[in-house]
C-alpha cells in the first residue's frame, strides 16, 4: 500500500528542519512513499526552505484554511491509497511507517494512531496514546494511557491523535474529513474517530509506530495565547457533545450538567472559560444541529457501544 506522509505546517520553518528529514528517511526506508508539506499560508520562509533544501518534498502552498481545512485539502490532493497526517512538530522514527500500513489492511479499520513520546523518549502526558472516553460532567472526558506496560500491544482506541495518524484516503473522504464546525483547531480528530466508530469502523493504536512529539510548539506557543487555546478547546468540546451524542437519555444528562456549569462557576468557582465557551458554542448552534442531523442519518452504533468498543470491551 502506497502512502503519502502529510506534514501540516504554519510558520514552523524551524520545526521542519528536523521533521522533514525524518519523514523523508522513513518514507524512503519503507519503499518510496511520498512526503507532502501542506502549508497554511505561513508568513515565515517555510516554503523557500523546503524548495531550497528538500526539492523532493511536494509542497502545497494553501490560503489560510485553519488546521482542519488544510488537512482536508491536503488529503484530497494526495494520490495514494493511504495517508499519514503529521504535525510539523512530530519527528518520526525510521521504522514508524510499516506497522501503521499493516494495521490498515483489514477493511474495517479506519485509522491507526502512532505511539507518542516526548523528545527525551519519555511517555508524553499529552493526549495521543491509547485514547478512550467517557461521558461525564457534561462532556466527553478523554483519557489516554500512561502506563508503559499497557502500551505494548496493538489495540482499539477512541481516536487517533491528528498529529500522527494513518488512514485510508477513501475512508477519510467517505467520512467527509475533519469537520469545519471545529475551526480553527482541536477536537476534529476526536470527532472523526468517534464518527468512524459510529459508522462501524475501528480505530487502532500501534505502539510499534513511534514518533516524538514536541507538544504545544505549534499552535499554542506561536499563534494563540494559552487562554485562547483553552477557550477554543472548551468550545469545541461542547460542540462535540452537541453534534455527536445521539442517545436521548445520555444527551439529557449531559445537557443538564452543562446547564449547571453557570451555577457552579458562580457558586463554587468552576473551570475558567466554561460559561464563556458555552456562549461561543451557542453561536454555532445551527451548524451543530445540521451536523447532528447528518450523524443521525448515518449512524450504525450507539454512543454506549462506541465508548465500550473503543476501550477494548464488548458493546
Amino acid at each position: 500500500m502506497q502512502a503519502s506522509l502529510i506534514l501540516i505546517n504554519y510558520n514552523g520553518r524551524d520545526l521542519l528542519e528536523t521533521s522533514v528529514p525524518a519523514a523523508l528517511a522513513a518514507a524512503r526506508r519503507a519503499g518510496g512513499h511520498t512526503v507532502i508539506v501542506a502549508d497554511d499560508h505561513s508568513s515565515d520562509d517555510s516554503i523557500e526552505f523546503l524548495c531550497n533544501q528538500h526539492p523532493e518534498v511536494r509542497v502545497l502552498a494553501l490560503p489560510k484554511l485553519g488546521f482542519g481545512g488544510v488537512c482536508n485539502t491536503a488529503v484530497e490532493a494526495a494520490e495514494t491509497e493511504a495517508v499519514v497526517l503529521l504535525n510539523n512538530d512530530v519527528v518520526v522514527t525510521p521504522d514508524f511507517l510499516p506497522p501503521l500500513l499493516d494495521d490498515l489492511t483489514p477493511p474495517d479499520v479506519f485509522a491507526v494512531g502512532c505511539k507518542f513520546l516526548n523528545p527525551d523518549g519519555s511517555l508524553t502526558n499529552a493526549l495521543g496514546n491509547r485514547t478512550s472516553g467517557e461521558w461525564r460532567g457534561g462532556l466527553l472526558q478523554i483519557h489516554h494511557e500512561t502506563r508503559p506496560e499497557l502500551l505494548k500491544e496493538t489495540c482499539p482506541q477512541l481516536y487517533a491523535n491528528g498529529g500522527g495518524m494513518a488512514f485510508r484516503r477513501k475512508s477519510w473522504l467517505d467520512l467527509g474529513g475533519f469537520d469545519h464546525l471545529f475551526q480553527p483547531f482541536y477536537w476534529e480528530d476526536v470527532d472523526i474517530g468517534y464518527r468512524a466508530w459510529a459508522r462501524g469502523w475501528r480505530v487502532l493504536y500501534e505502539p510499534a509506530s513511534v514518533v516524538y512529539h514536541n507538544q504545544g510548539s505549534t499552535i499554542s506557543g506561536k499563534v494563540y495565547r494559552p487562554a485562547q487555546v483553552e477557550l477554543l478547546s472548551a468550545k469545541n468540546a461542547i460542540l462535540f457533545a452537541w453534534k455527536n451524542l445521539l442517545d436521548a437519555r445520555m444527551f439529557r444528562r449531559v445537557m443538564l450538567a452543562q446547564a449547571r456549569w453557570a451555577a457552579d462557576d458562580i457558586l463554587i468557582g468552576g473551570l475558567p472559560n466554561r460559561t464563556k465557551a458555552l456562549w461561543r458554542a451557542f453561536r454555532q448552534l445551527r451548524q451543530a444541529a445540521r451536523a447532528r442531523a447528518g450523524e443521525q442519518r448515518l449512524r450504525l452504533r450507539s454512543d454506549e457501544a462506541i465508548i465500550a468498543l473503543s476501550a477494548g470491551g464488548a458493546s
Binding site: 452537541w242 436521548a248 443538564l256
Partner: protein, 168 residues
C-alpha cells in the same frame, strides 16, 4: 478588653499572605487599641493562624454563613477590611455581603497592587446588589442557552430520523 473591634475578611489562599498582612497592618494602624477579628474559610485558616489575630471566625465546613455573621455581629465591629485576593466573582460577592451584614461602621477595600480605599456603606450595598444581579443573569443565561440548545438539537435529530440508532 478593648472597646473597639475590627474585622478582616478574606478568602485568600497560600501565596497571598502579603495582602492579608497589609490589611492587618492597616487596621492596626487605624485602630491601634482595637481587637482584630478575621473571617476566613477552612482553606484560609492556616494562613490566618500565623497573623497574630485576636480571634478567627471560620466560615464553611461546620459553620454556616448565618452563624458566621451572627458571631461577627456579636463583636460590635467598628471597621471591616475586605481583602480581594481570591479570584472569583462570587467570592467577592460573599465577602462584601459579609462585611455589609457584619454591622461594621467603616469599610476598607484591599486589592493587590492598589492603594487601600475606604468604601461607604451605600456603595458597598450597591456593589452587592449589582454582583447579585449579574450572578442571577449569568445563571439564567446559562440555563436558557442549554435549554434552547437541547430543544433545537433534539428537534434536528428527530427531524433527521428519530431514534433509529441501533444498539449493536
Amino acid at each position: 478588653m478593648s472597646e473597639q473591634t475590627t474585622l478582616l475578611l478574606t478568602f485568600a489562599r497560600r501565596g497571598e499572605e502579603s495582602e492579608i498582612a497589609r490589611a492587618r497592618d492597616h487596621l492596626r494602624q487605624q485602630f491601634p487599641t482595637a481587637q482584630l477579628v478575621a473571617l476566613g474559610t477552612p482553606v484560609t485558616e492556616s494562613v490566618l493562624r500565623h497573623l497574630d489575630l485576636e480571634h478567627i471566625i471560620i466560615y464553611g465546613g461546620a459553620q454556616g454563613a448565618r452563624q458566621a455573621v451572627r458571631e461577627a455581629r456579636s463583636h460590635q465591629l467598628t471597621a471591616a477590611a475586605i481583602v480581594y485576593c481570591e479570584p472569583g466573582f462570587f467570592a467577592h460577592l460573599k465577602l462584601e455581603a459579609f462585611a455589609l451584614l457584619s454591622g461594621a461602621h467603616k469599610f476598607y477595600r484591599i486589592s493587590p497592587e492598589q492603594p487601600i480605599k475606604t468604601i461607604g456603606r451605600l456603595r458597598l450595598a450597591c456593589s452587592v446588589l449589582a454582583k447579585s444581579f449579574a450572578a442571577g443573569t449569568r445563571l439564567l443565561a446559562g440555563f436558557f442557552i442549554c435549554l434552547i440548545a437541547c430543544f433545537y438539537l433534539r428537534l434536528a435529530q428527530l427531524l433527521a430520523g428519530g431514534r433509529r440508532v441501533s444498539r449493536a
